[in-house]
Symmetry: D2
Subunit: 333 residues, 4 copies
């Protein structure tokens, strides 16, 4: 039985707590949060103990692993502390918004040798997972063009935008990770183009809300990513790959399968509203993977380097925008 | 070059005329109609001659074939005259509304030995044709359940209803023919249930506008047909077959492929409005089949007996309604 | 907090136990099963107590409600005992295979006045629920034709068939309940046609595996149900309603949204394999409804009479098959 | 009645000839081709006269308009000659591969004042036309992102590649025109990325077979175009627009509506093989527009400048590839 400490009892922390509870092989032992009440609420529900200081949880040798679901700017300190305490680490994305601090965290993780996992949940979506499996099994042969469309239902509030790190580090980072995962090789060239079309306050914060990125790999594969902070019809998450033997697509789920055929049109349901609904199963499967891999002594499928490389690409996108030019990226991992 | 006389220059006659003109192997030589102007208009467009009396066209030994697209109550007399004049015959469905008269026409056709074709156009719809080809090639193994849904966009006017022969002889006859074609064996039991829900004048004329028929074949396959005189979203034409190895479906076309994703739903286009649009290609392909078969000395794929058997089933449906009981049908052809 | 006793710790019992655990307002207090080990396993997982005899659980005045998920032939005795003990009752479908025994159970329930719910889970499927809501809100006006297609992925083993009560009482009973729910009025005429095409042992047991039913209501609406014990492509569950203002459809879910476009075709995923996957959410929602209604003092949405009427229709189907004739059903509830 | 001379009796010329014949308002008077036999064949079929020299057709004052469907390198000379002879001009795309020669042709057309139309057939595809109509009517509000996917079923032969002008001038020029039409404003920045992944001989000819272009307009809208010379599943032609109020999509047609549900997957049909099938209706509608506009004295909807601007964008893509940098384009028309 894996004993887990959860750092952060907010929205995502609660989802992870429920998924740990649902698993056969793990249980929640500690919960921390800046709000003692929030920590207590989650702890009570799952028979865990609420503690004020993560250090207290890390000091307990019975704890095998931690889940870091606290605000981004606390990730690196918690990673370092957990690594030193020899706990396996599940860290929500992004590791940090600053590449230097990410490197420091990774160095500490490597030094301690603890298992480390970044919560790129989309890799565990059943459709995207099946897509990747077929792609990597050669279903369409050599991959030639990859297209990733990712649009949020609506822009976050101004306060979120200001601390988010911007669209590329906060939102597209998921798609940049998906691109690396699916391409099976590193992008070596990236060009970004972006606008602020939706909310003036986003532009005032120096950010963009509408963006397109084109990348090329060493083998010549092309990849297109597009992001928007607003899709009024719901959370839009699609991928498409063209290869020598055909095309793979993974599209949106719909809320129900109901269709209404009327005098004017055929109406069907929109996609689920947002990521908690769309990726409910993915959240469940990533925690299951984390627990099963630790229990079985197997390798975790998303590494610290995956977290780092996605950030490198996000930085490259920012540079491309600033320089109005494509950016060359070292393909070395 | 096949020389053709067209009897009837109405809506369907004009479609057949255009499709003859489009073919490489046939030309229109004569056109007749109760309206001399209508006959003249079609004749001029395709370099044919308008004549008042079908007999004049039949007397011309250069004429190889006739297309009978005049009102239903004129079909039998024209078939008999054409058969005696040794012309190949394309007859619009139904041959007649009276089974006795159909038998007389068939007897004359058999006596003269002329090729005879009934215009069950749906068999030539590319989707239904592909469906039948796969079904008969064993794509789903033994056929267990066949479902045919056929709904008109709206009820015809009262005057039409009164001379139509009723829903079963006028509308469902197409589906009864489809059923026989797809089942590959004769139904031996039929039960019908029907209502008048759409237009009171339909009920006043002793007819129904909403009907369901269930049939069983000697091998135990079940078949369901449903008809409605009104589908406000457009002409609804679908078939589905379940077999031991899977299911085949053939659904509706849509006017365009445009989808609109909005705050409330995802909207796509309705099916084409009615049979002229939906079966445009089918009309083209059935005339091409008629011409090609005659030129190539091959058998026509829809026979006089097909026209007769569909009417037998329509009569059985009327009997079932009247007796409120299933009707046993002789499976002998 | 609602205290619940679960009778039956098999496949369905376990699902209900997990859904009780997930709820905020209820907890599992007792579990019984013919297998003490099975009862113990479920009890341990959710902090409940395994007891050998349902009577022990019923004797505890702290117990508010029971969930009856034991074999069908035990339902009536458990209902009577629970009713006498003044417990609210959640009973898996069917109440019993014998209408007389159902009536006895209902009489006891009525006498005691306890809340009673039959587990017609499909009413809680999000797609079917949305379908019903739109239909009953008048989205397509007067309902004219209702079509229900329900096919299992494959036939159950011989042993199950022999005690199942047959296709109409065991399988179509779900669809007959759906029909009553959606039609909003009672069928007054029913005709059934059926075959044994899939497994000879089903016919040897006096049962059928392929069936079609047509029903008519007092207002003239027509309803078609078709069942098959085998759909090799997965569990097939669809409904369609035609009305004066349009059509509603609710179709199948697919395992994922992945599509593969190849040289030969476009391939997408099959439906989920069977009812546990397809109705996972429905099982969750029906338990939530049962708990919420009891806690809130609201009426349960599926009544004992609903369980009874579905069985009445299943009996009518058997009579129709035996007499080869339509059966008239009293519309009185 | 409009009298038309057709220059070029090849594949496209024959399509235009058939569509002229089908129209009510125009007839074919002359046909020319480098092959006298080809010209004669088309001329005979439609009652026109085959002449060796276009000059002869242009000299006939009865001729109102010309359709230029001869090889690209003959377009400009024929345009100039037709303009001087005061004939209305329908010119297949592209006007020429050399921008200078295009400008010369346009100057002559402007001088003579004859109506001029470039055959950007996709604008007349019913789905794309509906898409554009809804977009320009404000169905999704301000356009933010436009995505155009266009893939040929397979690469053309080496000989074609060598005279084609390359992927951007030959193939993407259609999509660049679509982009301008749909965006409703001129792109002012363009970045292109491309590879040769499919056929080595394409790379040897200095061309690419896989390409992505990103463009930005003055208002900040972003546009992505992707082209491939190979999609083994058929001709892939899709567009998608995201705006403040929703998304519009126009997808692929399929050969039929047949679906096959099997033990392993659900299979449906591929898109039609290539542009003659996919754009059959578009070809018909563009000729009808040309004829109707000329007869009605209305403006033609695709101008010489449209032909020119698409080529300007194709040149910009080539420059972007060569310089590995985005290219600024003057928005002046």
């Amino acid at each position: 039985m894996l004993e887990i400490a959860l750092f952060g009892a907010g929205r995502i922390g609660q989802i992870h707590a429920a998924n740990v509870a649902r698993s056969e092989g793990a249980r929640l032992r500690y919960v921390t949060d800046v709000s003692p009440e929030a920590a207590q609420r989650v702890a009570s529900k799952y028979g865990a103990e609420a503690v004020a200081d993560p250090a207290a949880a890390l000091a307990d040798t019975a704890v095998d692993a931690v889940i870091i679901a606290s605000p981004t700017n606390t990730h690196v300190d918690l990673i370092i502390a957990a690594a030193r305490a020899k706990k396996a680490i599940f860290c929500e994305k992004p590791i940090d918004l600053d590449l230097l601090r990410v490197d420091i965290a990774i160095a500490e993780v490597n030094l301690s040798g603890v298992p480390f996992f970044v919560g790129f949940n989309r890799r565990f979506d059943p459709s995207f997972d099946r897509f990747a499996t077929e792609l990597h099994a050669g279903a369409i042969g050599k991959l030639e063009m990859l297209t990733i469309i990712s649009r949020d239902p609506g822009p976050p509030p101004r306060a979120y935008i200001e601390v988010s790190g911007g669209l590329f580090r906060d939102m597209m980072i998921h798609d940049l990770d998906m691109a690396r995962w699916l391409l099976g090789e590193e992008p070596i060239e990236l060009f970004a183009s972006a606008s602020c079309l939706i909310e003036p306050f986003i532009g005032q914060a120096g950010d963009v809300d509408t963006a397109m990125v084109t990348m090329k790999t060493a083998s010549g594969s092309l990849c297109h990513i597009q992001n928007s902070r607003r899709a009024v019809y719901g959370y839009d998450q699609r991928i498409e790959a063209l290869g020598e033997k055909g095309m793979l697509q993974a599209g949106n789920w719909r809320e129900t399968t109901v269709e209404r055929w009327t005098k004017t049109s055929v109406e069907s349901d929109k996609p689920p509203l947002f990521f908690l609904e769309r990726y409910e199963t993915a959240y469940r499967r990533e925690i299951a993977h984390f627990i099963d891999a630790l229990l079985g002594g197997k390798k975790l499928s998303v590494t610290a380097n995956d977290g780092r490389r996605a950030l490198v690409l996000a930085e490259a996108a920012l540079t491309s925008i600033a320089k109005k030019a494509p950016v060359i990226i070292s393909g070395e991992r």
